[in-house]
């Protein structure tokens, strides 16, 4: 393996390019029309245009991706996450074109990518699953039939896309009268996001925690589970903060849940990287939720507490190497790591997307901080893709110190031109419930409701005054060159003239 085509964009494409460079492999980027200036294109060794900005015409076009691989002479393809990462046809097309697919087999993707089939695989491995429908709802099922199925599962329940992920194509139904519209909305969102409108029903557990187990599996029969990640801080079923280890997982539960995850993976002959997600109820009982047959967004925190490079291992496994990782090392975290997903969204306006041009950006840095980002100043956040611009992760000796370090990093993170969720994280990480680890997957939606549209960071009086002063100085000086510091005589003269002229 010498050259890897990265069938993705944004921060994850950058992450994979970095692994390639560290392993002395060539990297090939692909880009849509609006991504010509994106960071992954600038960092890769080669770059190929694959079509218009809409994902269906570029990043989801298997033919164009395989063609770019052929043109570049790549011998392997890394799909990242999202887009075609969990599409068995893509994996099969790569293999069919003589390319190594850096991920599981098409067959494993197909089995575990279908939520309903995956639940069957977990049951066969002796792992409990959340109660729900065995099969997808029929496309022509009448609303009466769906209502009857729902009744047998019990409310509240979730309508979930069979091909789903990331909270898309998912709806909670508390009141039976909302069922039909929720099924309709979930189907339409699933069709848009995944090209498959199939949905199924699942019982909603009361106040569960989301605990997941990262796995690596090689082609020689080794399966290594990693220390759990907790991803209970979710907004509308979308993870926003992840951490490892979980404050709620005892050593006994860790041994049990990681063994269960490994059993599910072994049962389906799984290879490469994957993650098994569980819900853990208030009594510490766990239930298989689903498997993600790809690299997870939140993989950096696992890397931070184990010191292992998951992307490099994906590549090493794909080229046939043995997974010679000490299982104890994978299960024994050093310190604690937290990740905040920084989104181009306005937390003070119902988290609406805030696309636009990033005019200034200085990510946090320094001890224990890792910023996985595809954003730079001068780039537009396009409206076509997921609005995550960065994954900010903090590692420290223990959880309180990791929280303190993350708060420091958030205070340092400078971005202008778009709204981001940074102020929201500043607020969240100062909440006593977060510090105490008192949360479950319903926590964040509950506190957001209680917040009722109030801003997360109420500017103190001094901050508002400073903003007024800064706005006045900025307006007075624009668009002059540096005025007070290092400006040329001409620049100062112009500033003076402008100030005089506006007297």
């Amino acid at each position: 393996m010498k050259k890897i085509l990265i069938a993705n964009r944004g921060e994850i494409a950058v992450r994979i390019i970095r692994a390639c460079r560290e392993m002395d492999l060539s990297s090939v980027a692909v880009y849509s029309e609006c991504d010509r200036s994106a960071l992954h294109v600038r960092l890769a060794d080669e770059a190929y245009a694959i079509g218009p900005s809409a994902p269906r015409e570029s990043y989801l076009r298997i033919d164009r991706l395989v063609d770019a691989a052929r043109r570049s002479g790549a011998d392997a393809v890394h799909p990242g996450y999202g887009f075609l990462a969990e599409n068995e046809d893509f994996a099969a097309a790569c293999v069919g074109a003589g390319l190594t697919f850096i991920g599981p087999t098409a067959r494993a993707i197909e089995t575990m990518g279908s939520k309903t089939a995956a639940r069957g695989a977990a049951k066969r491995a002796g792992v409990p699953v959340v109660p729900g429908t065995e099969d997808p709802l029929g496309a022509d099922a009448t609303s009466e039939e769906i209502a009857a199925t729902a009744q047998s599962i019990g409310y509240p329940l979730l309508v979930k896309a069979v091909a789903g992920g990331g909270g898309k194509g998912m709806r909670t139904v508390v009141d039976p009268s909302d069922l039909a519209s929720a099924v309709g909305a979930a189907r339409s969102e699933a069709a848009t996001a995944f090209g498959d409108p199939a949905v199924y029903l699942e019982r909603e557990l009361p106040r569960p925690r989301h605990i997941e187990v990262q796995l690596l599996a090689d082609h020689h029969g080794a399966v290594v589970p990693f220390v759990e990640r907790e991803c209970s801080i979710q907004r509308r079923h979308q993870k926003v903060v992840e951490e490892t280890p979980s404050i709620a997982v005892t050593p006994a539960l860790r041994a049990e849940i990681t063994s269960a995850a490994a059993a599910v993976a072994k049962g389906v002959g799984y290879t490469n990287a994957g993650t098994i997600e569980f819900l853990v109820d208030e009594n510490g009982r766990f239930y298989f939720l689903e498997m993600n047959t790809r690299l997870q967004v939140e993989h950096p925190i696992t890397e931070m507490v184990t010191g292992l490079d998951l992307v490099q291992w994906q590549i090493r496994i794909a080229r046939g190497e043995r997974l010679d990782v000490d299982p104890a090392r994978a299960l024994t975290p050093t310190g604690h790591a937290i990740e905040c997903r920084v989104y181009a969204e306005d937390p003070d306006n119902n988290f609406l997307p805030s696309p636009g041009r990033i005019v200034a950006l200085r990510p946090a840095a320094g001890p224990g901080i890792r910023d996985d980002s595809g954003a730079t100043a001068g780039l537009d956040v396009p409206i076509f893709y997921d609005p995550m611009i960065s994954k900010l992760a903090a590692w420290a000796e223990d959880r309180p110190r990791a929280i303190a370090r993350m708060r420091r990093a958030l205070a340092e993170y400078l971005v202008a031109g778009i709204r981001t969720t940074v102020p929201f994280f500043t607020w969240l990480l100062s909440q006593p419930d977060f510090a105490a680890g008192r949360f479950d997957t319903t926590y964040l939606d509950g506190v957001l409701k209680a917040q009722n549209g109030r801003p997360f960071v109420e500017p103190a009086a001094g901050v508002e005054e400073m903003a007024a002063i800064a706005a006045a100085l900025h307006t007075a000086l624009s668009p002059a060159r540096p005025p007070a510091n290092g400006g040329s005589t001409g620049g100062r003269w112009k500033t003076e003239a402008r100030l005089e002229g506006l007297r």
Partner: protein, 177 residues
């Protein structure tokens, strides 16, 4: 001396800026601070601010701030980032529309598209009574469907959103009166 009316946090502040030597004297209402300004780039300023000590007995505190300033496409305001805190600021009468919309005040609520996207659903008709926080329009952008909600109780006075239509940031969609 340059004068500004700056609306921030629901208050209008009078700000005067004057150069004195290498520094700027900024008078906010009736208080003057001296600011040393370094422009880092077109949108970033480093300010070292002396707070004038009324008694003159001690040296002023030289407080350091890094601020970013960028226009907000949806509202025409400036967003001033003071550290990690974004503050919406309207300079010289660029009214703080967004705050008015968000707070359920007495005036009509003008609901605009906060980002470019596609109208996927219109959930109300002209003349419909609506309750605060009731979803009015669903806009799809960035692969997610986003509900735009009423900020207050009232009637749908104007409806400009049409299903299937693409809209730009700032486009007026609904007026609730």
């Amino acid at each position: 001396m340059q004068h500004f009316e700056i609306e921030v946090g629901g208050r209008t502040r009078r700000v005067a800026v004057a150069r004195t030597g290498d520094k700027f004297a900024v008078t906010l209402d009736d208080r003057t601070v001296h600011a040393d300004v370094a422009r880092i780039d077109a949108h970033t300023l480093s300010l070292v601010v002396d707070t004038e000590c009324p008694t003159g007995a001690t040296d002023p505190v030289r407080a350091a701030f890094e601020v970013t300033i960028a226009p907000d496409a949806a509202t025409g305001q400036l967003i001033v980032g003071v550290g990690p805190t974004p503050v919406a600021v309207a300079v010289n009468g660029r009214r703080a529309r967004r705050r008015d919309e968000a707070s359920g005040g007495n005036g009509p609520q003008r609901l605009s598209a906060p980002m470019p996207g596609k109208i996927v659903r219109v959930l109300v008709k002209s003349g419909d009574p609506v309750r605060a926080r009731q979803p009015l329009v669903v806009v799809e952008a960035m692969k997610m469907e986003n509900e735009l909600r009423a900020g207050r109780d009232g009637l749908v006075a104007e409806l400009h959103a049409r299903e299937g239509e693409s809209v730009d940031a700032g486009a007026l969609l609904v007026v609730v009166q």
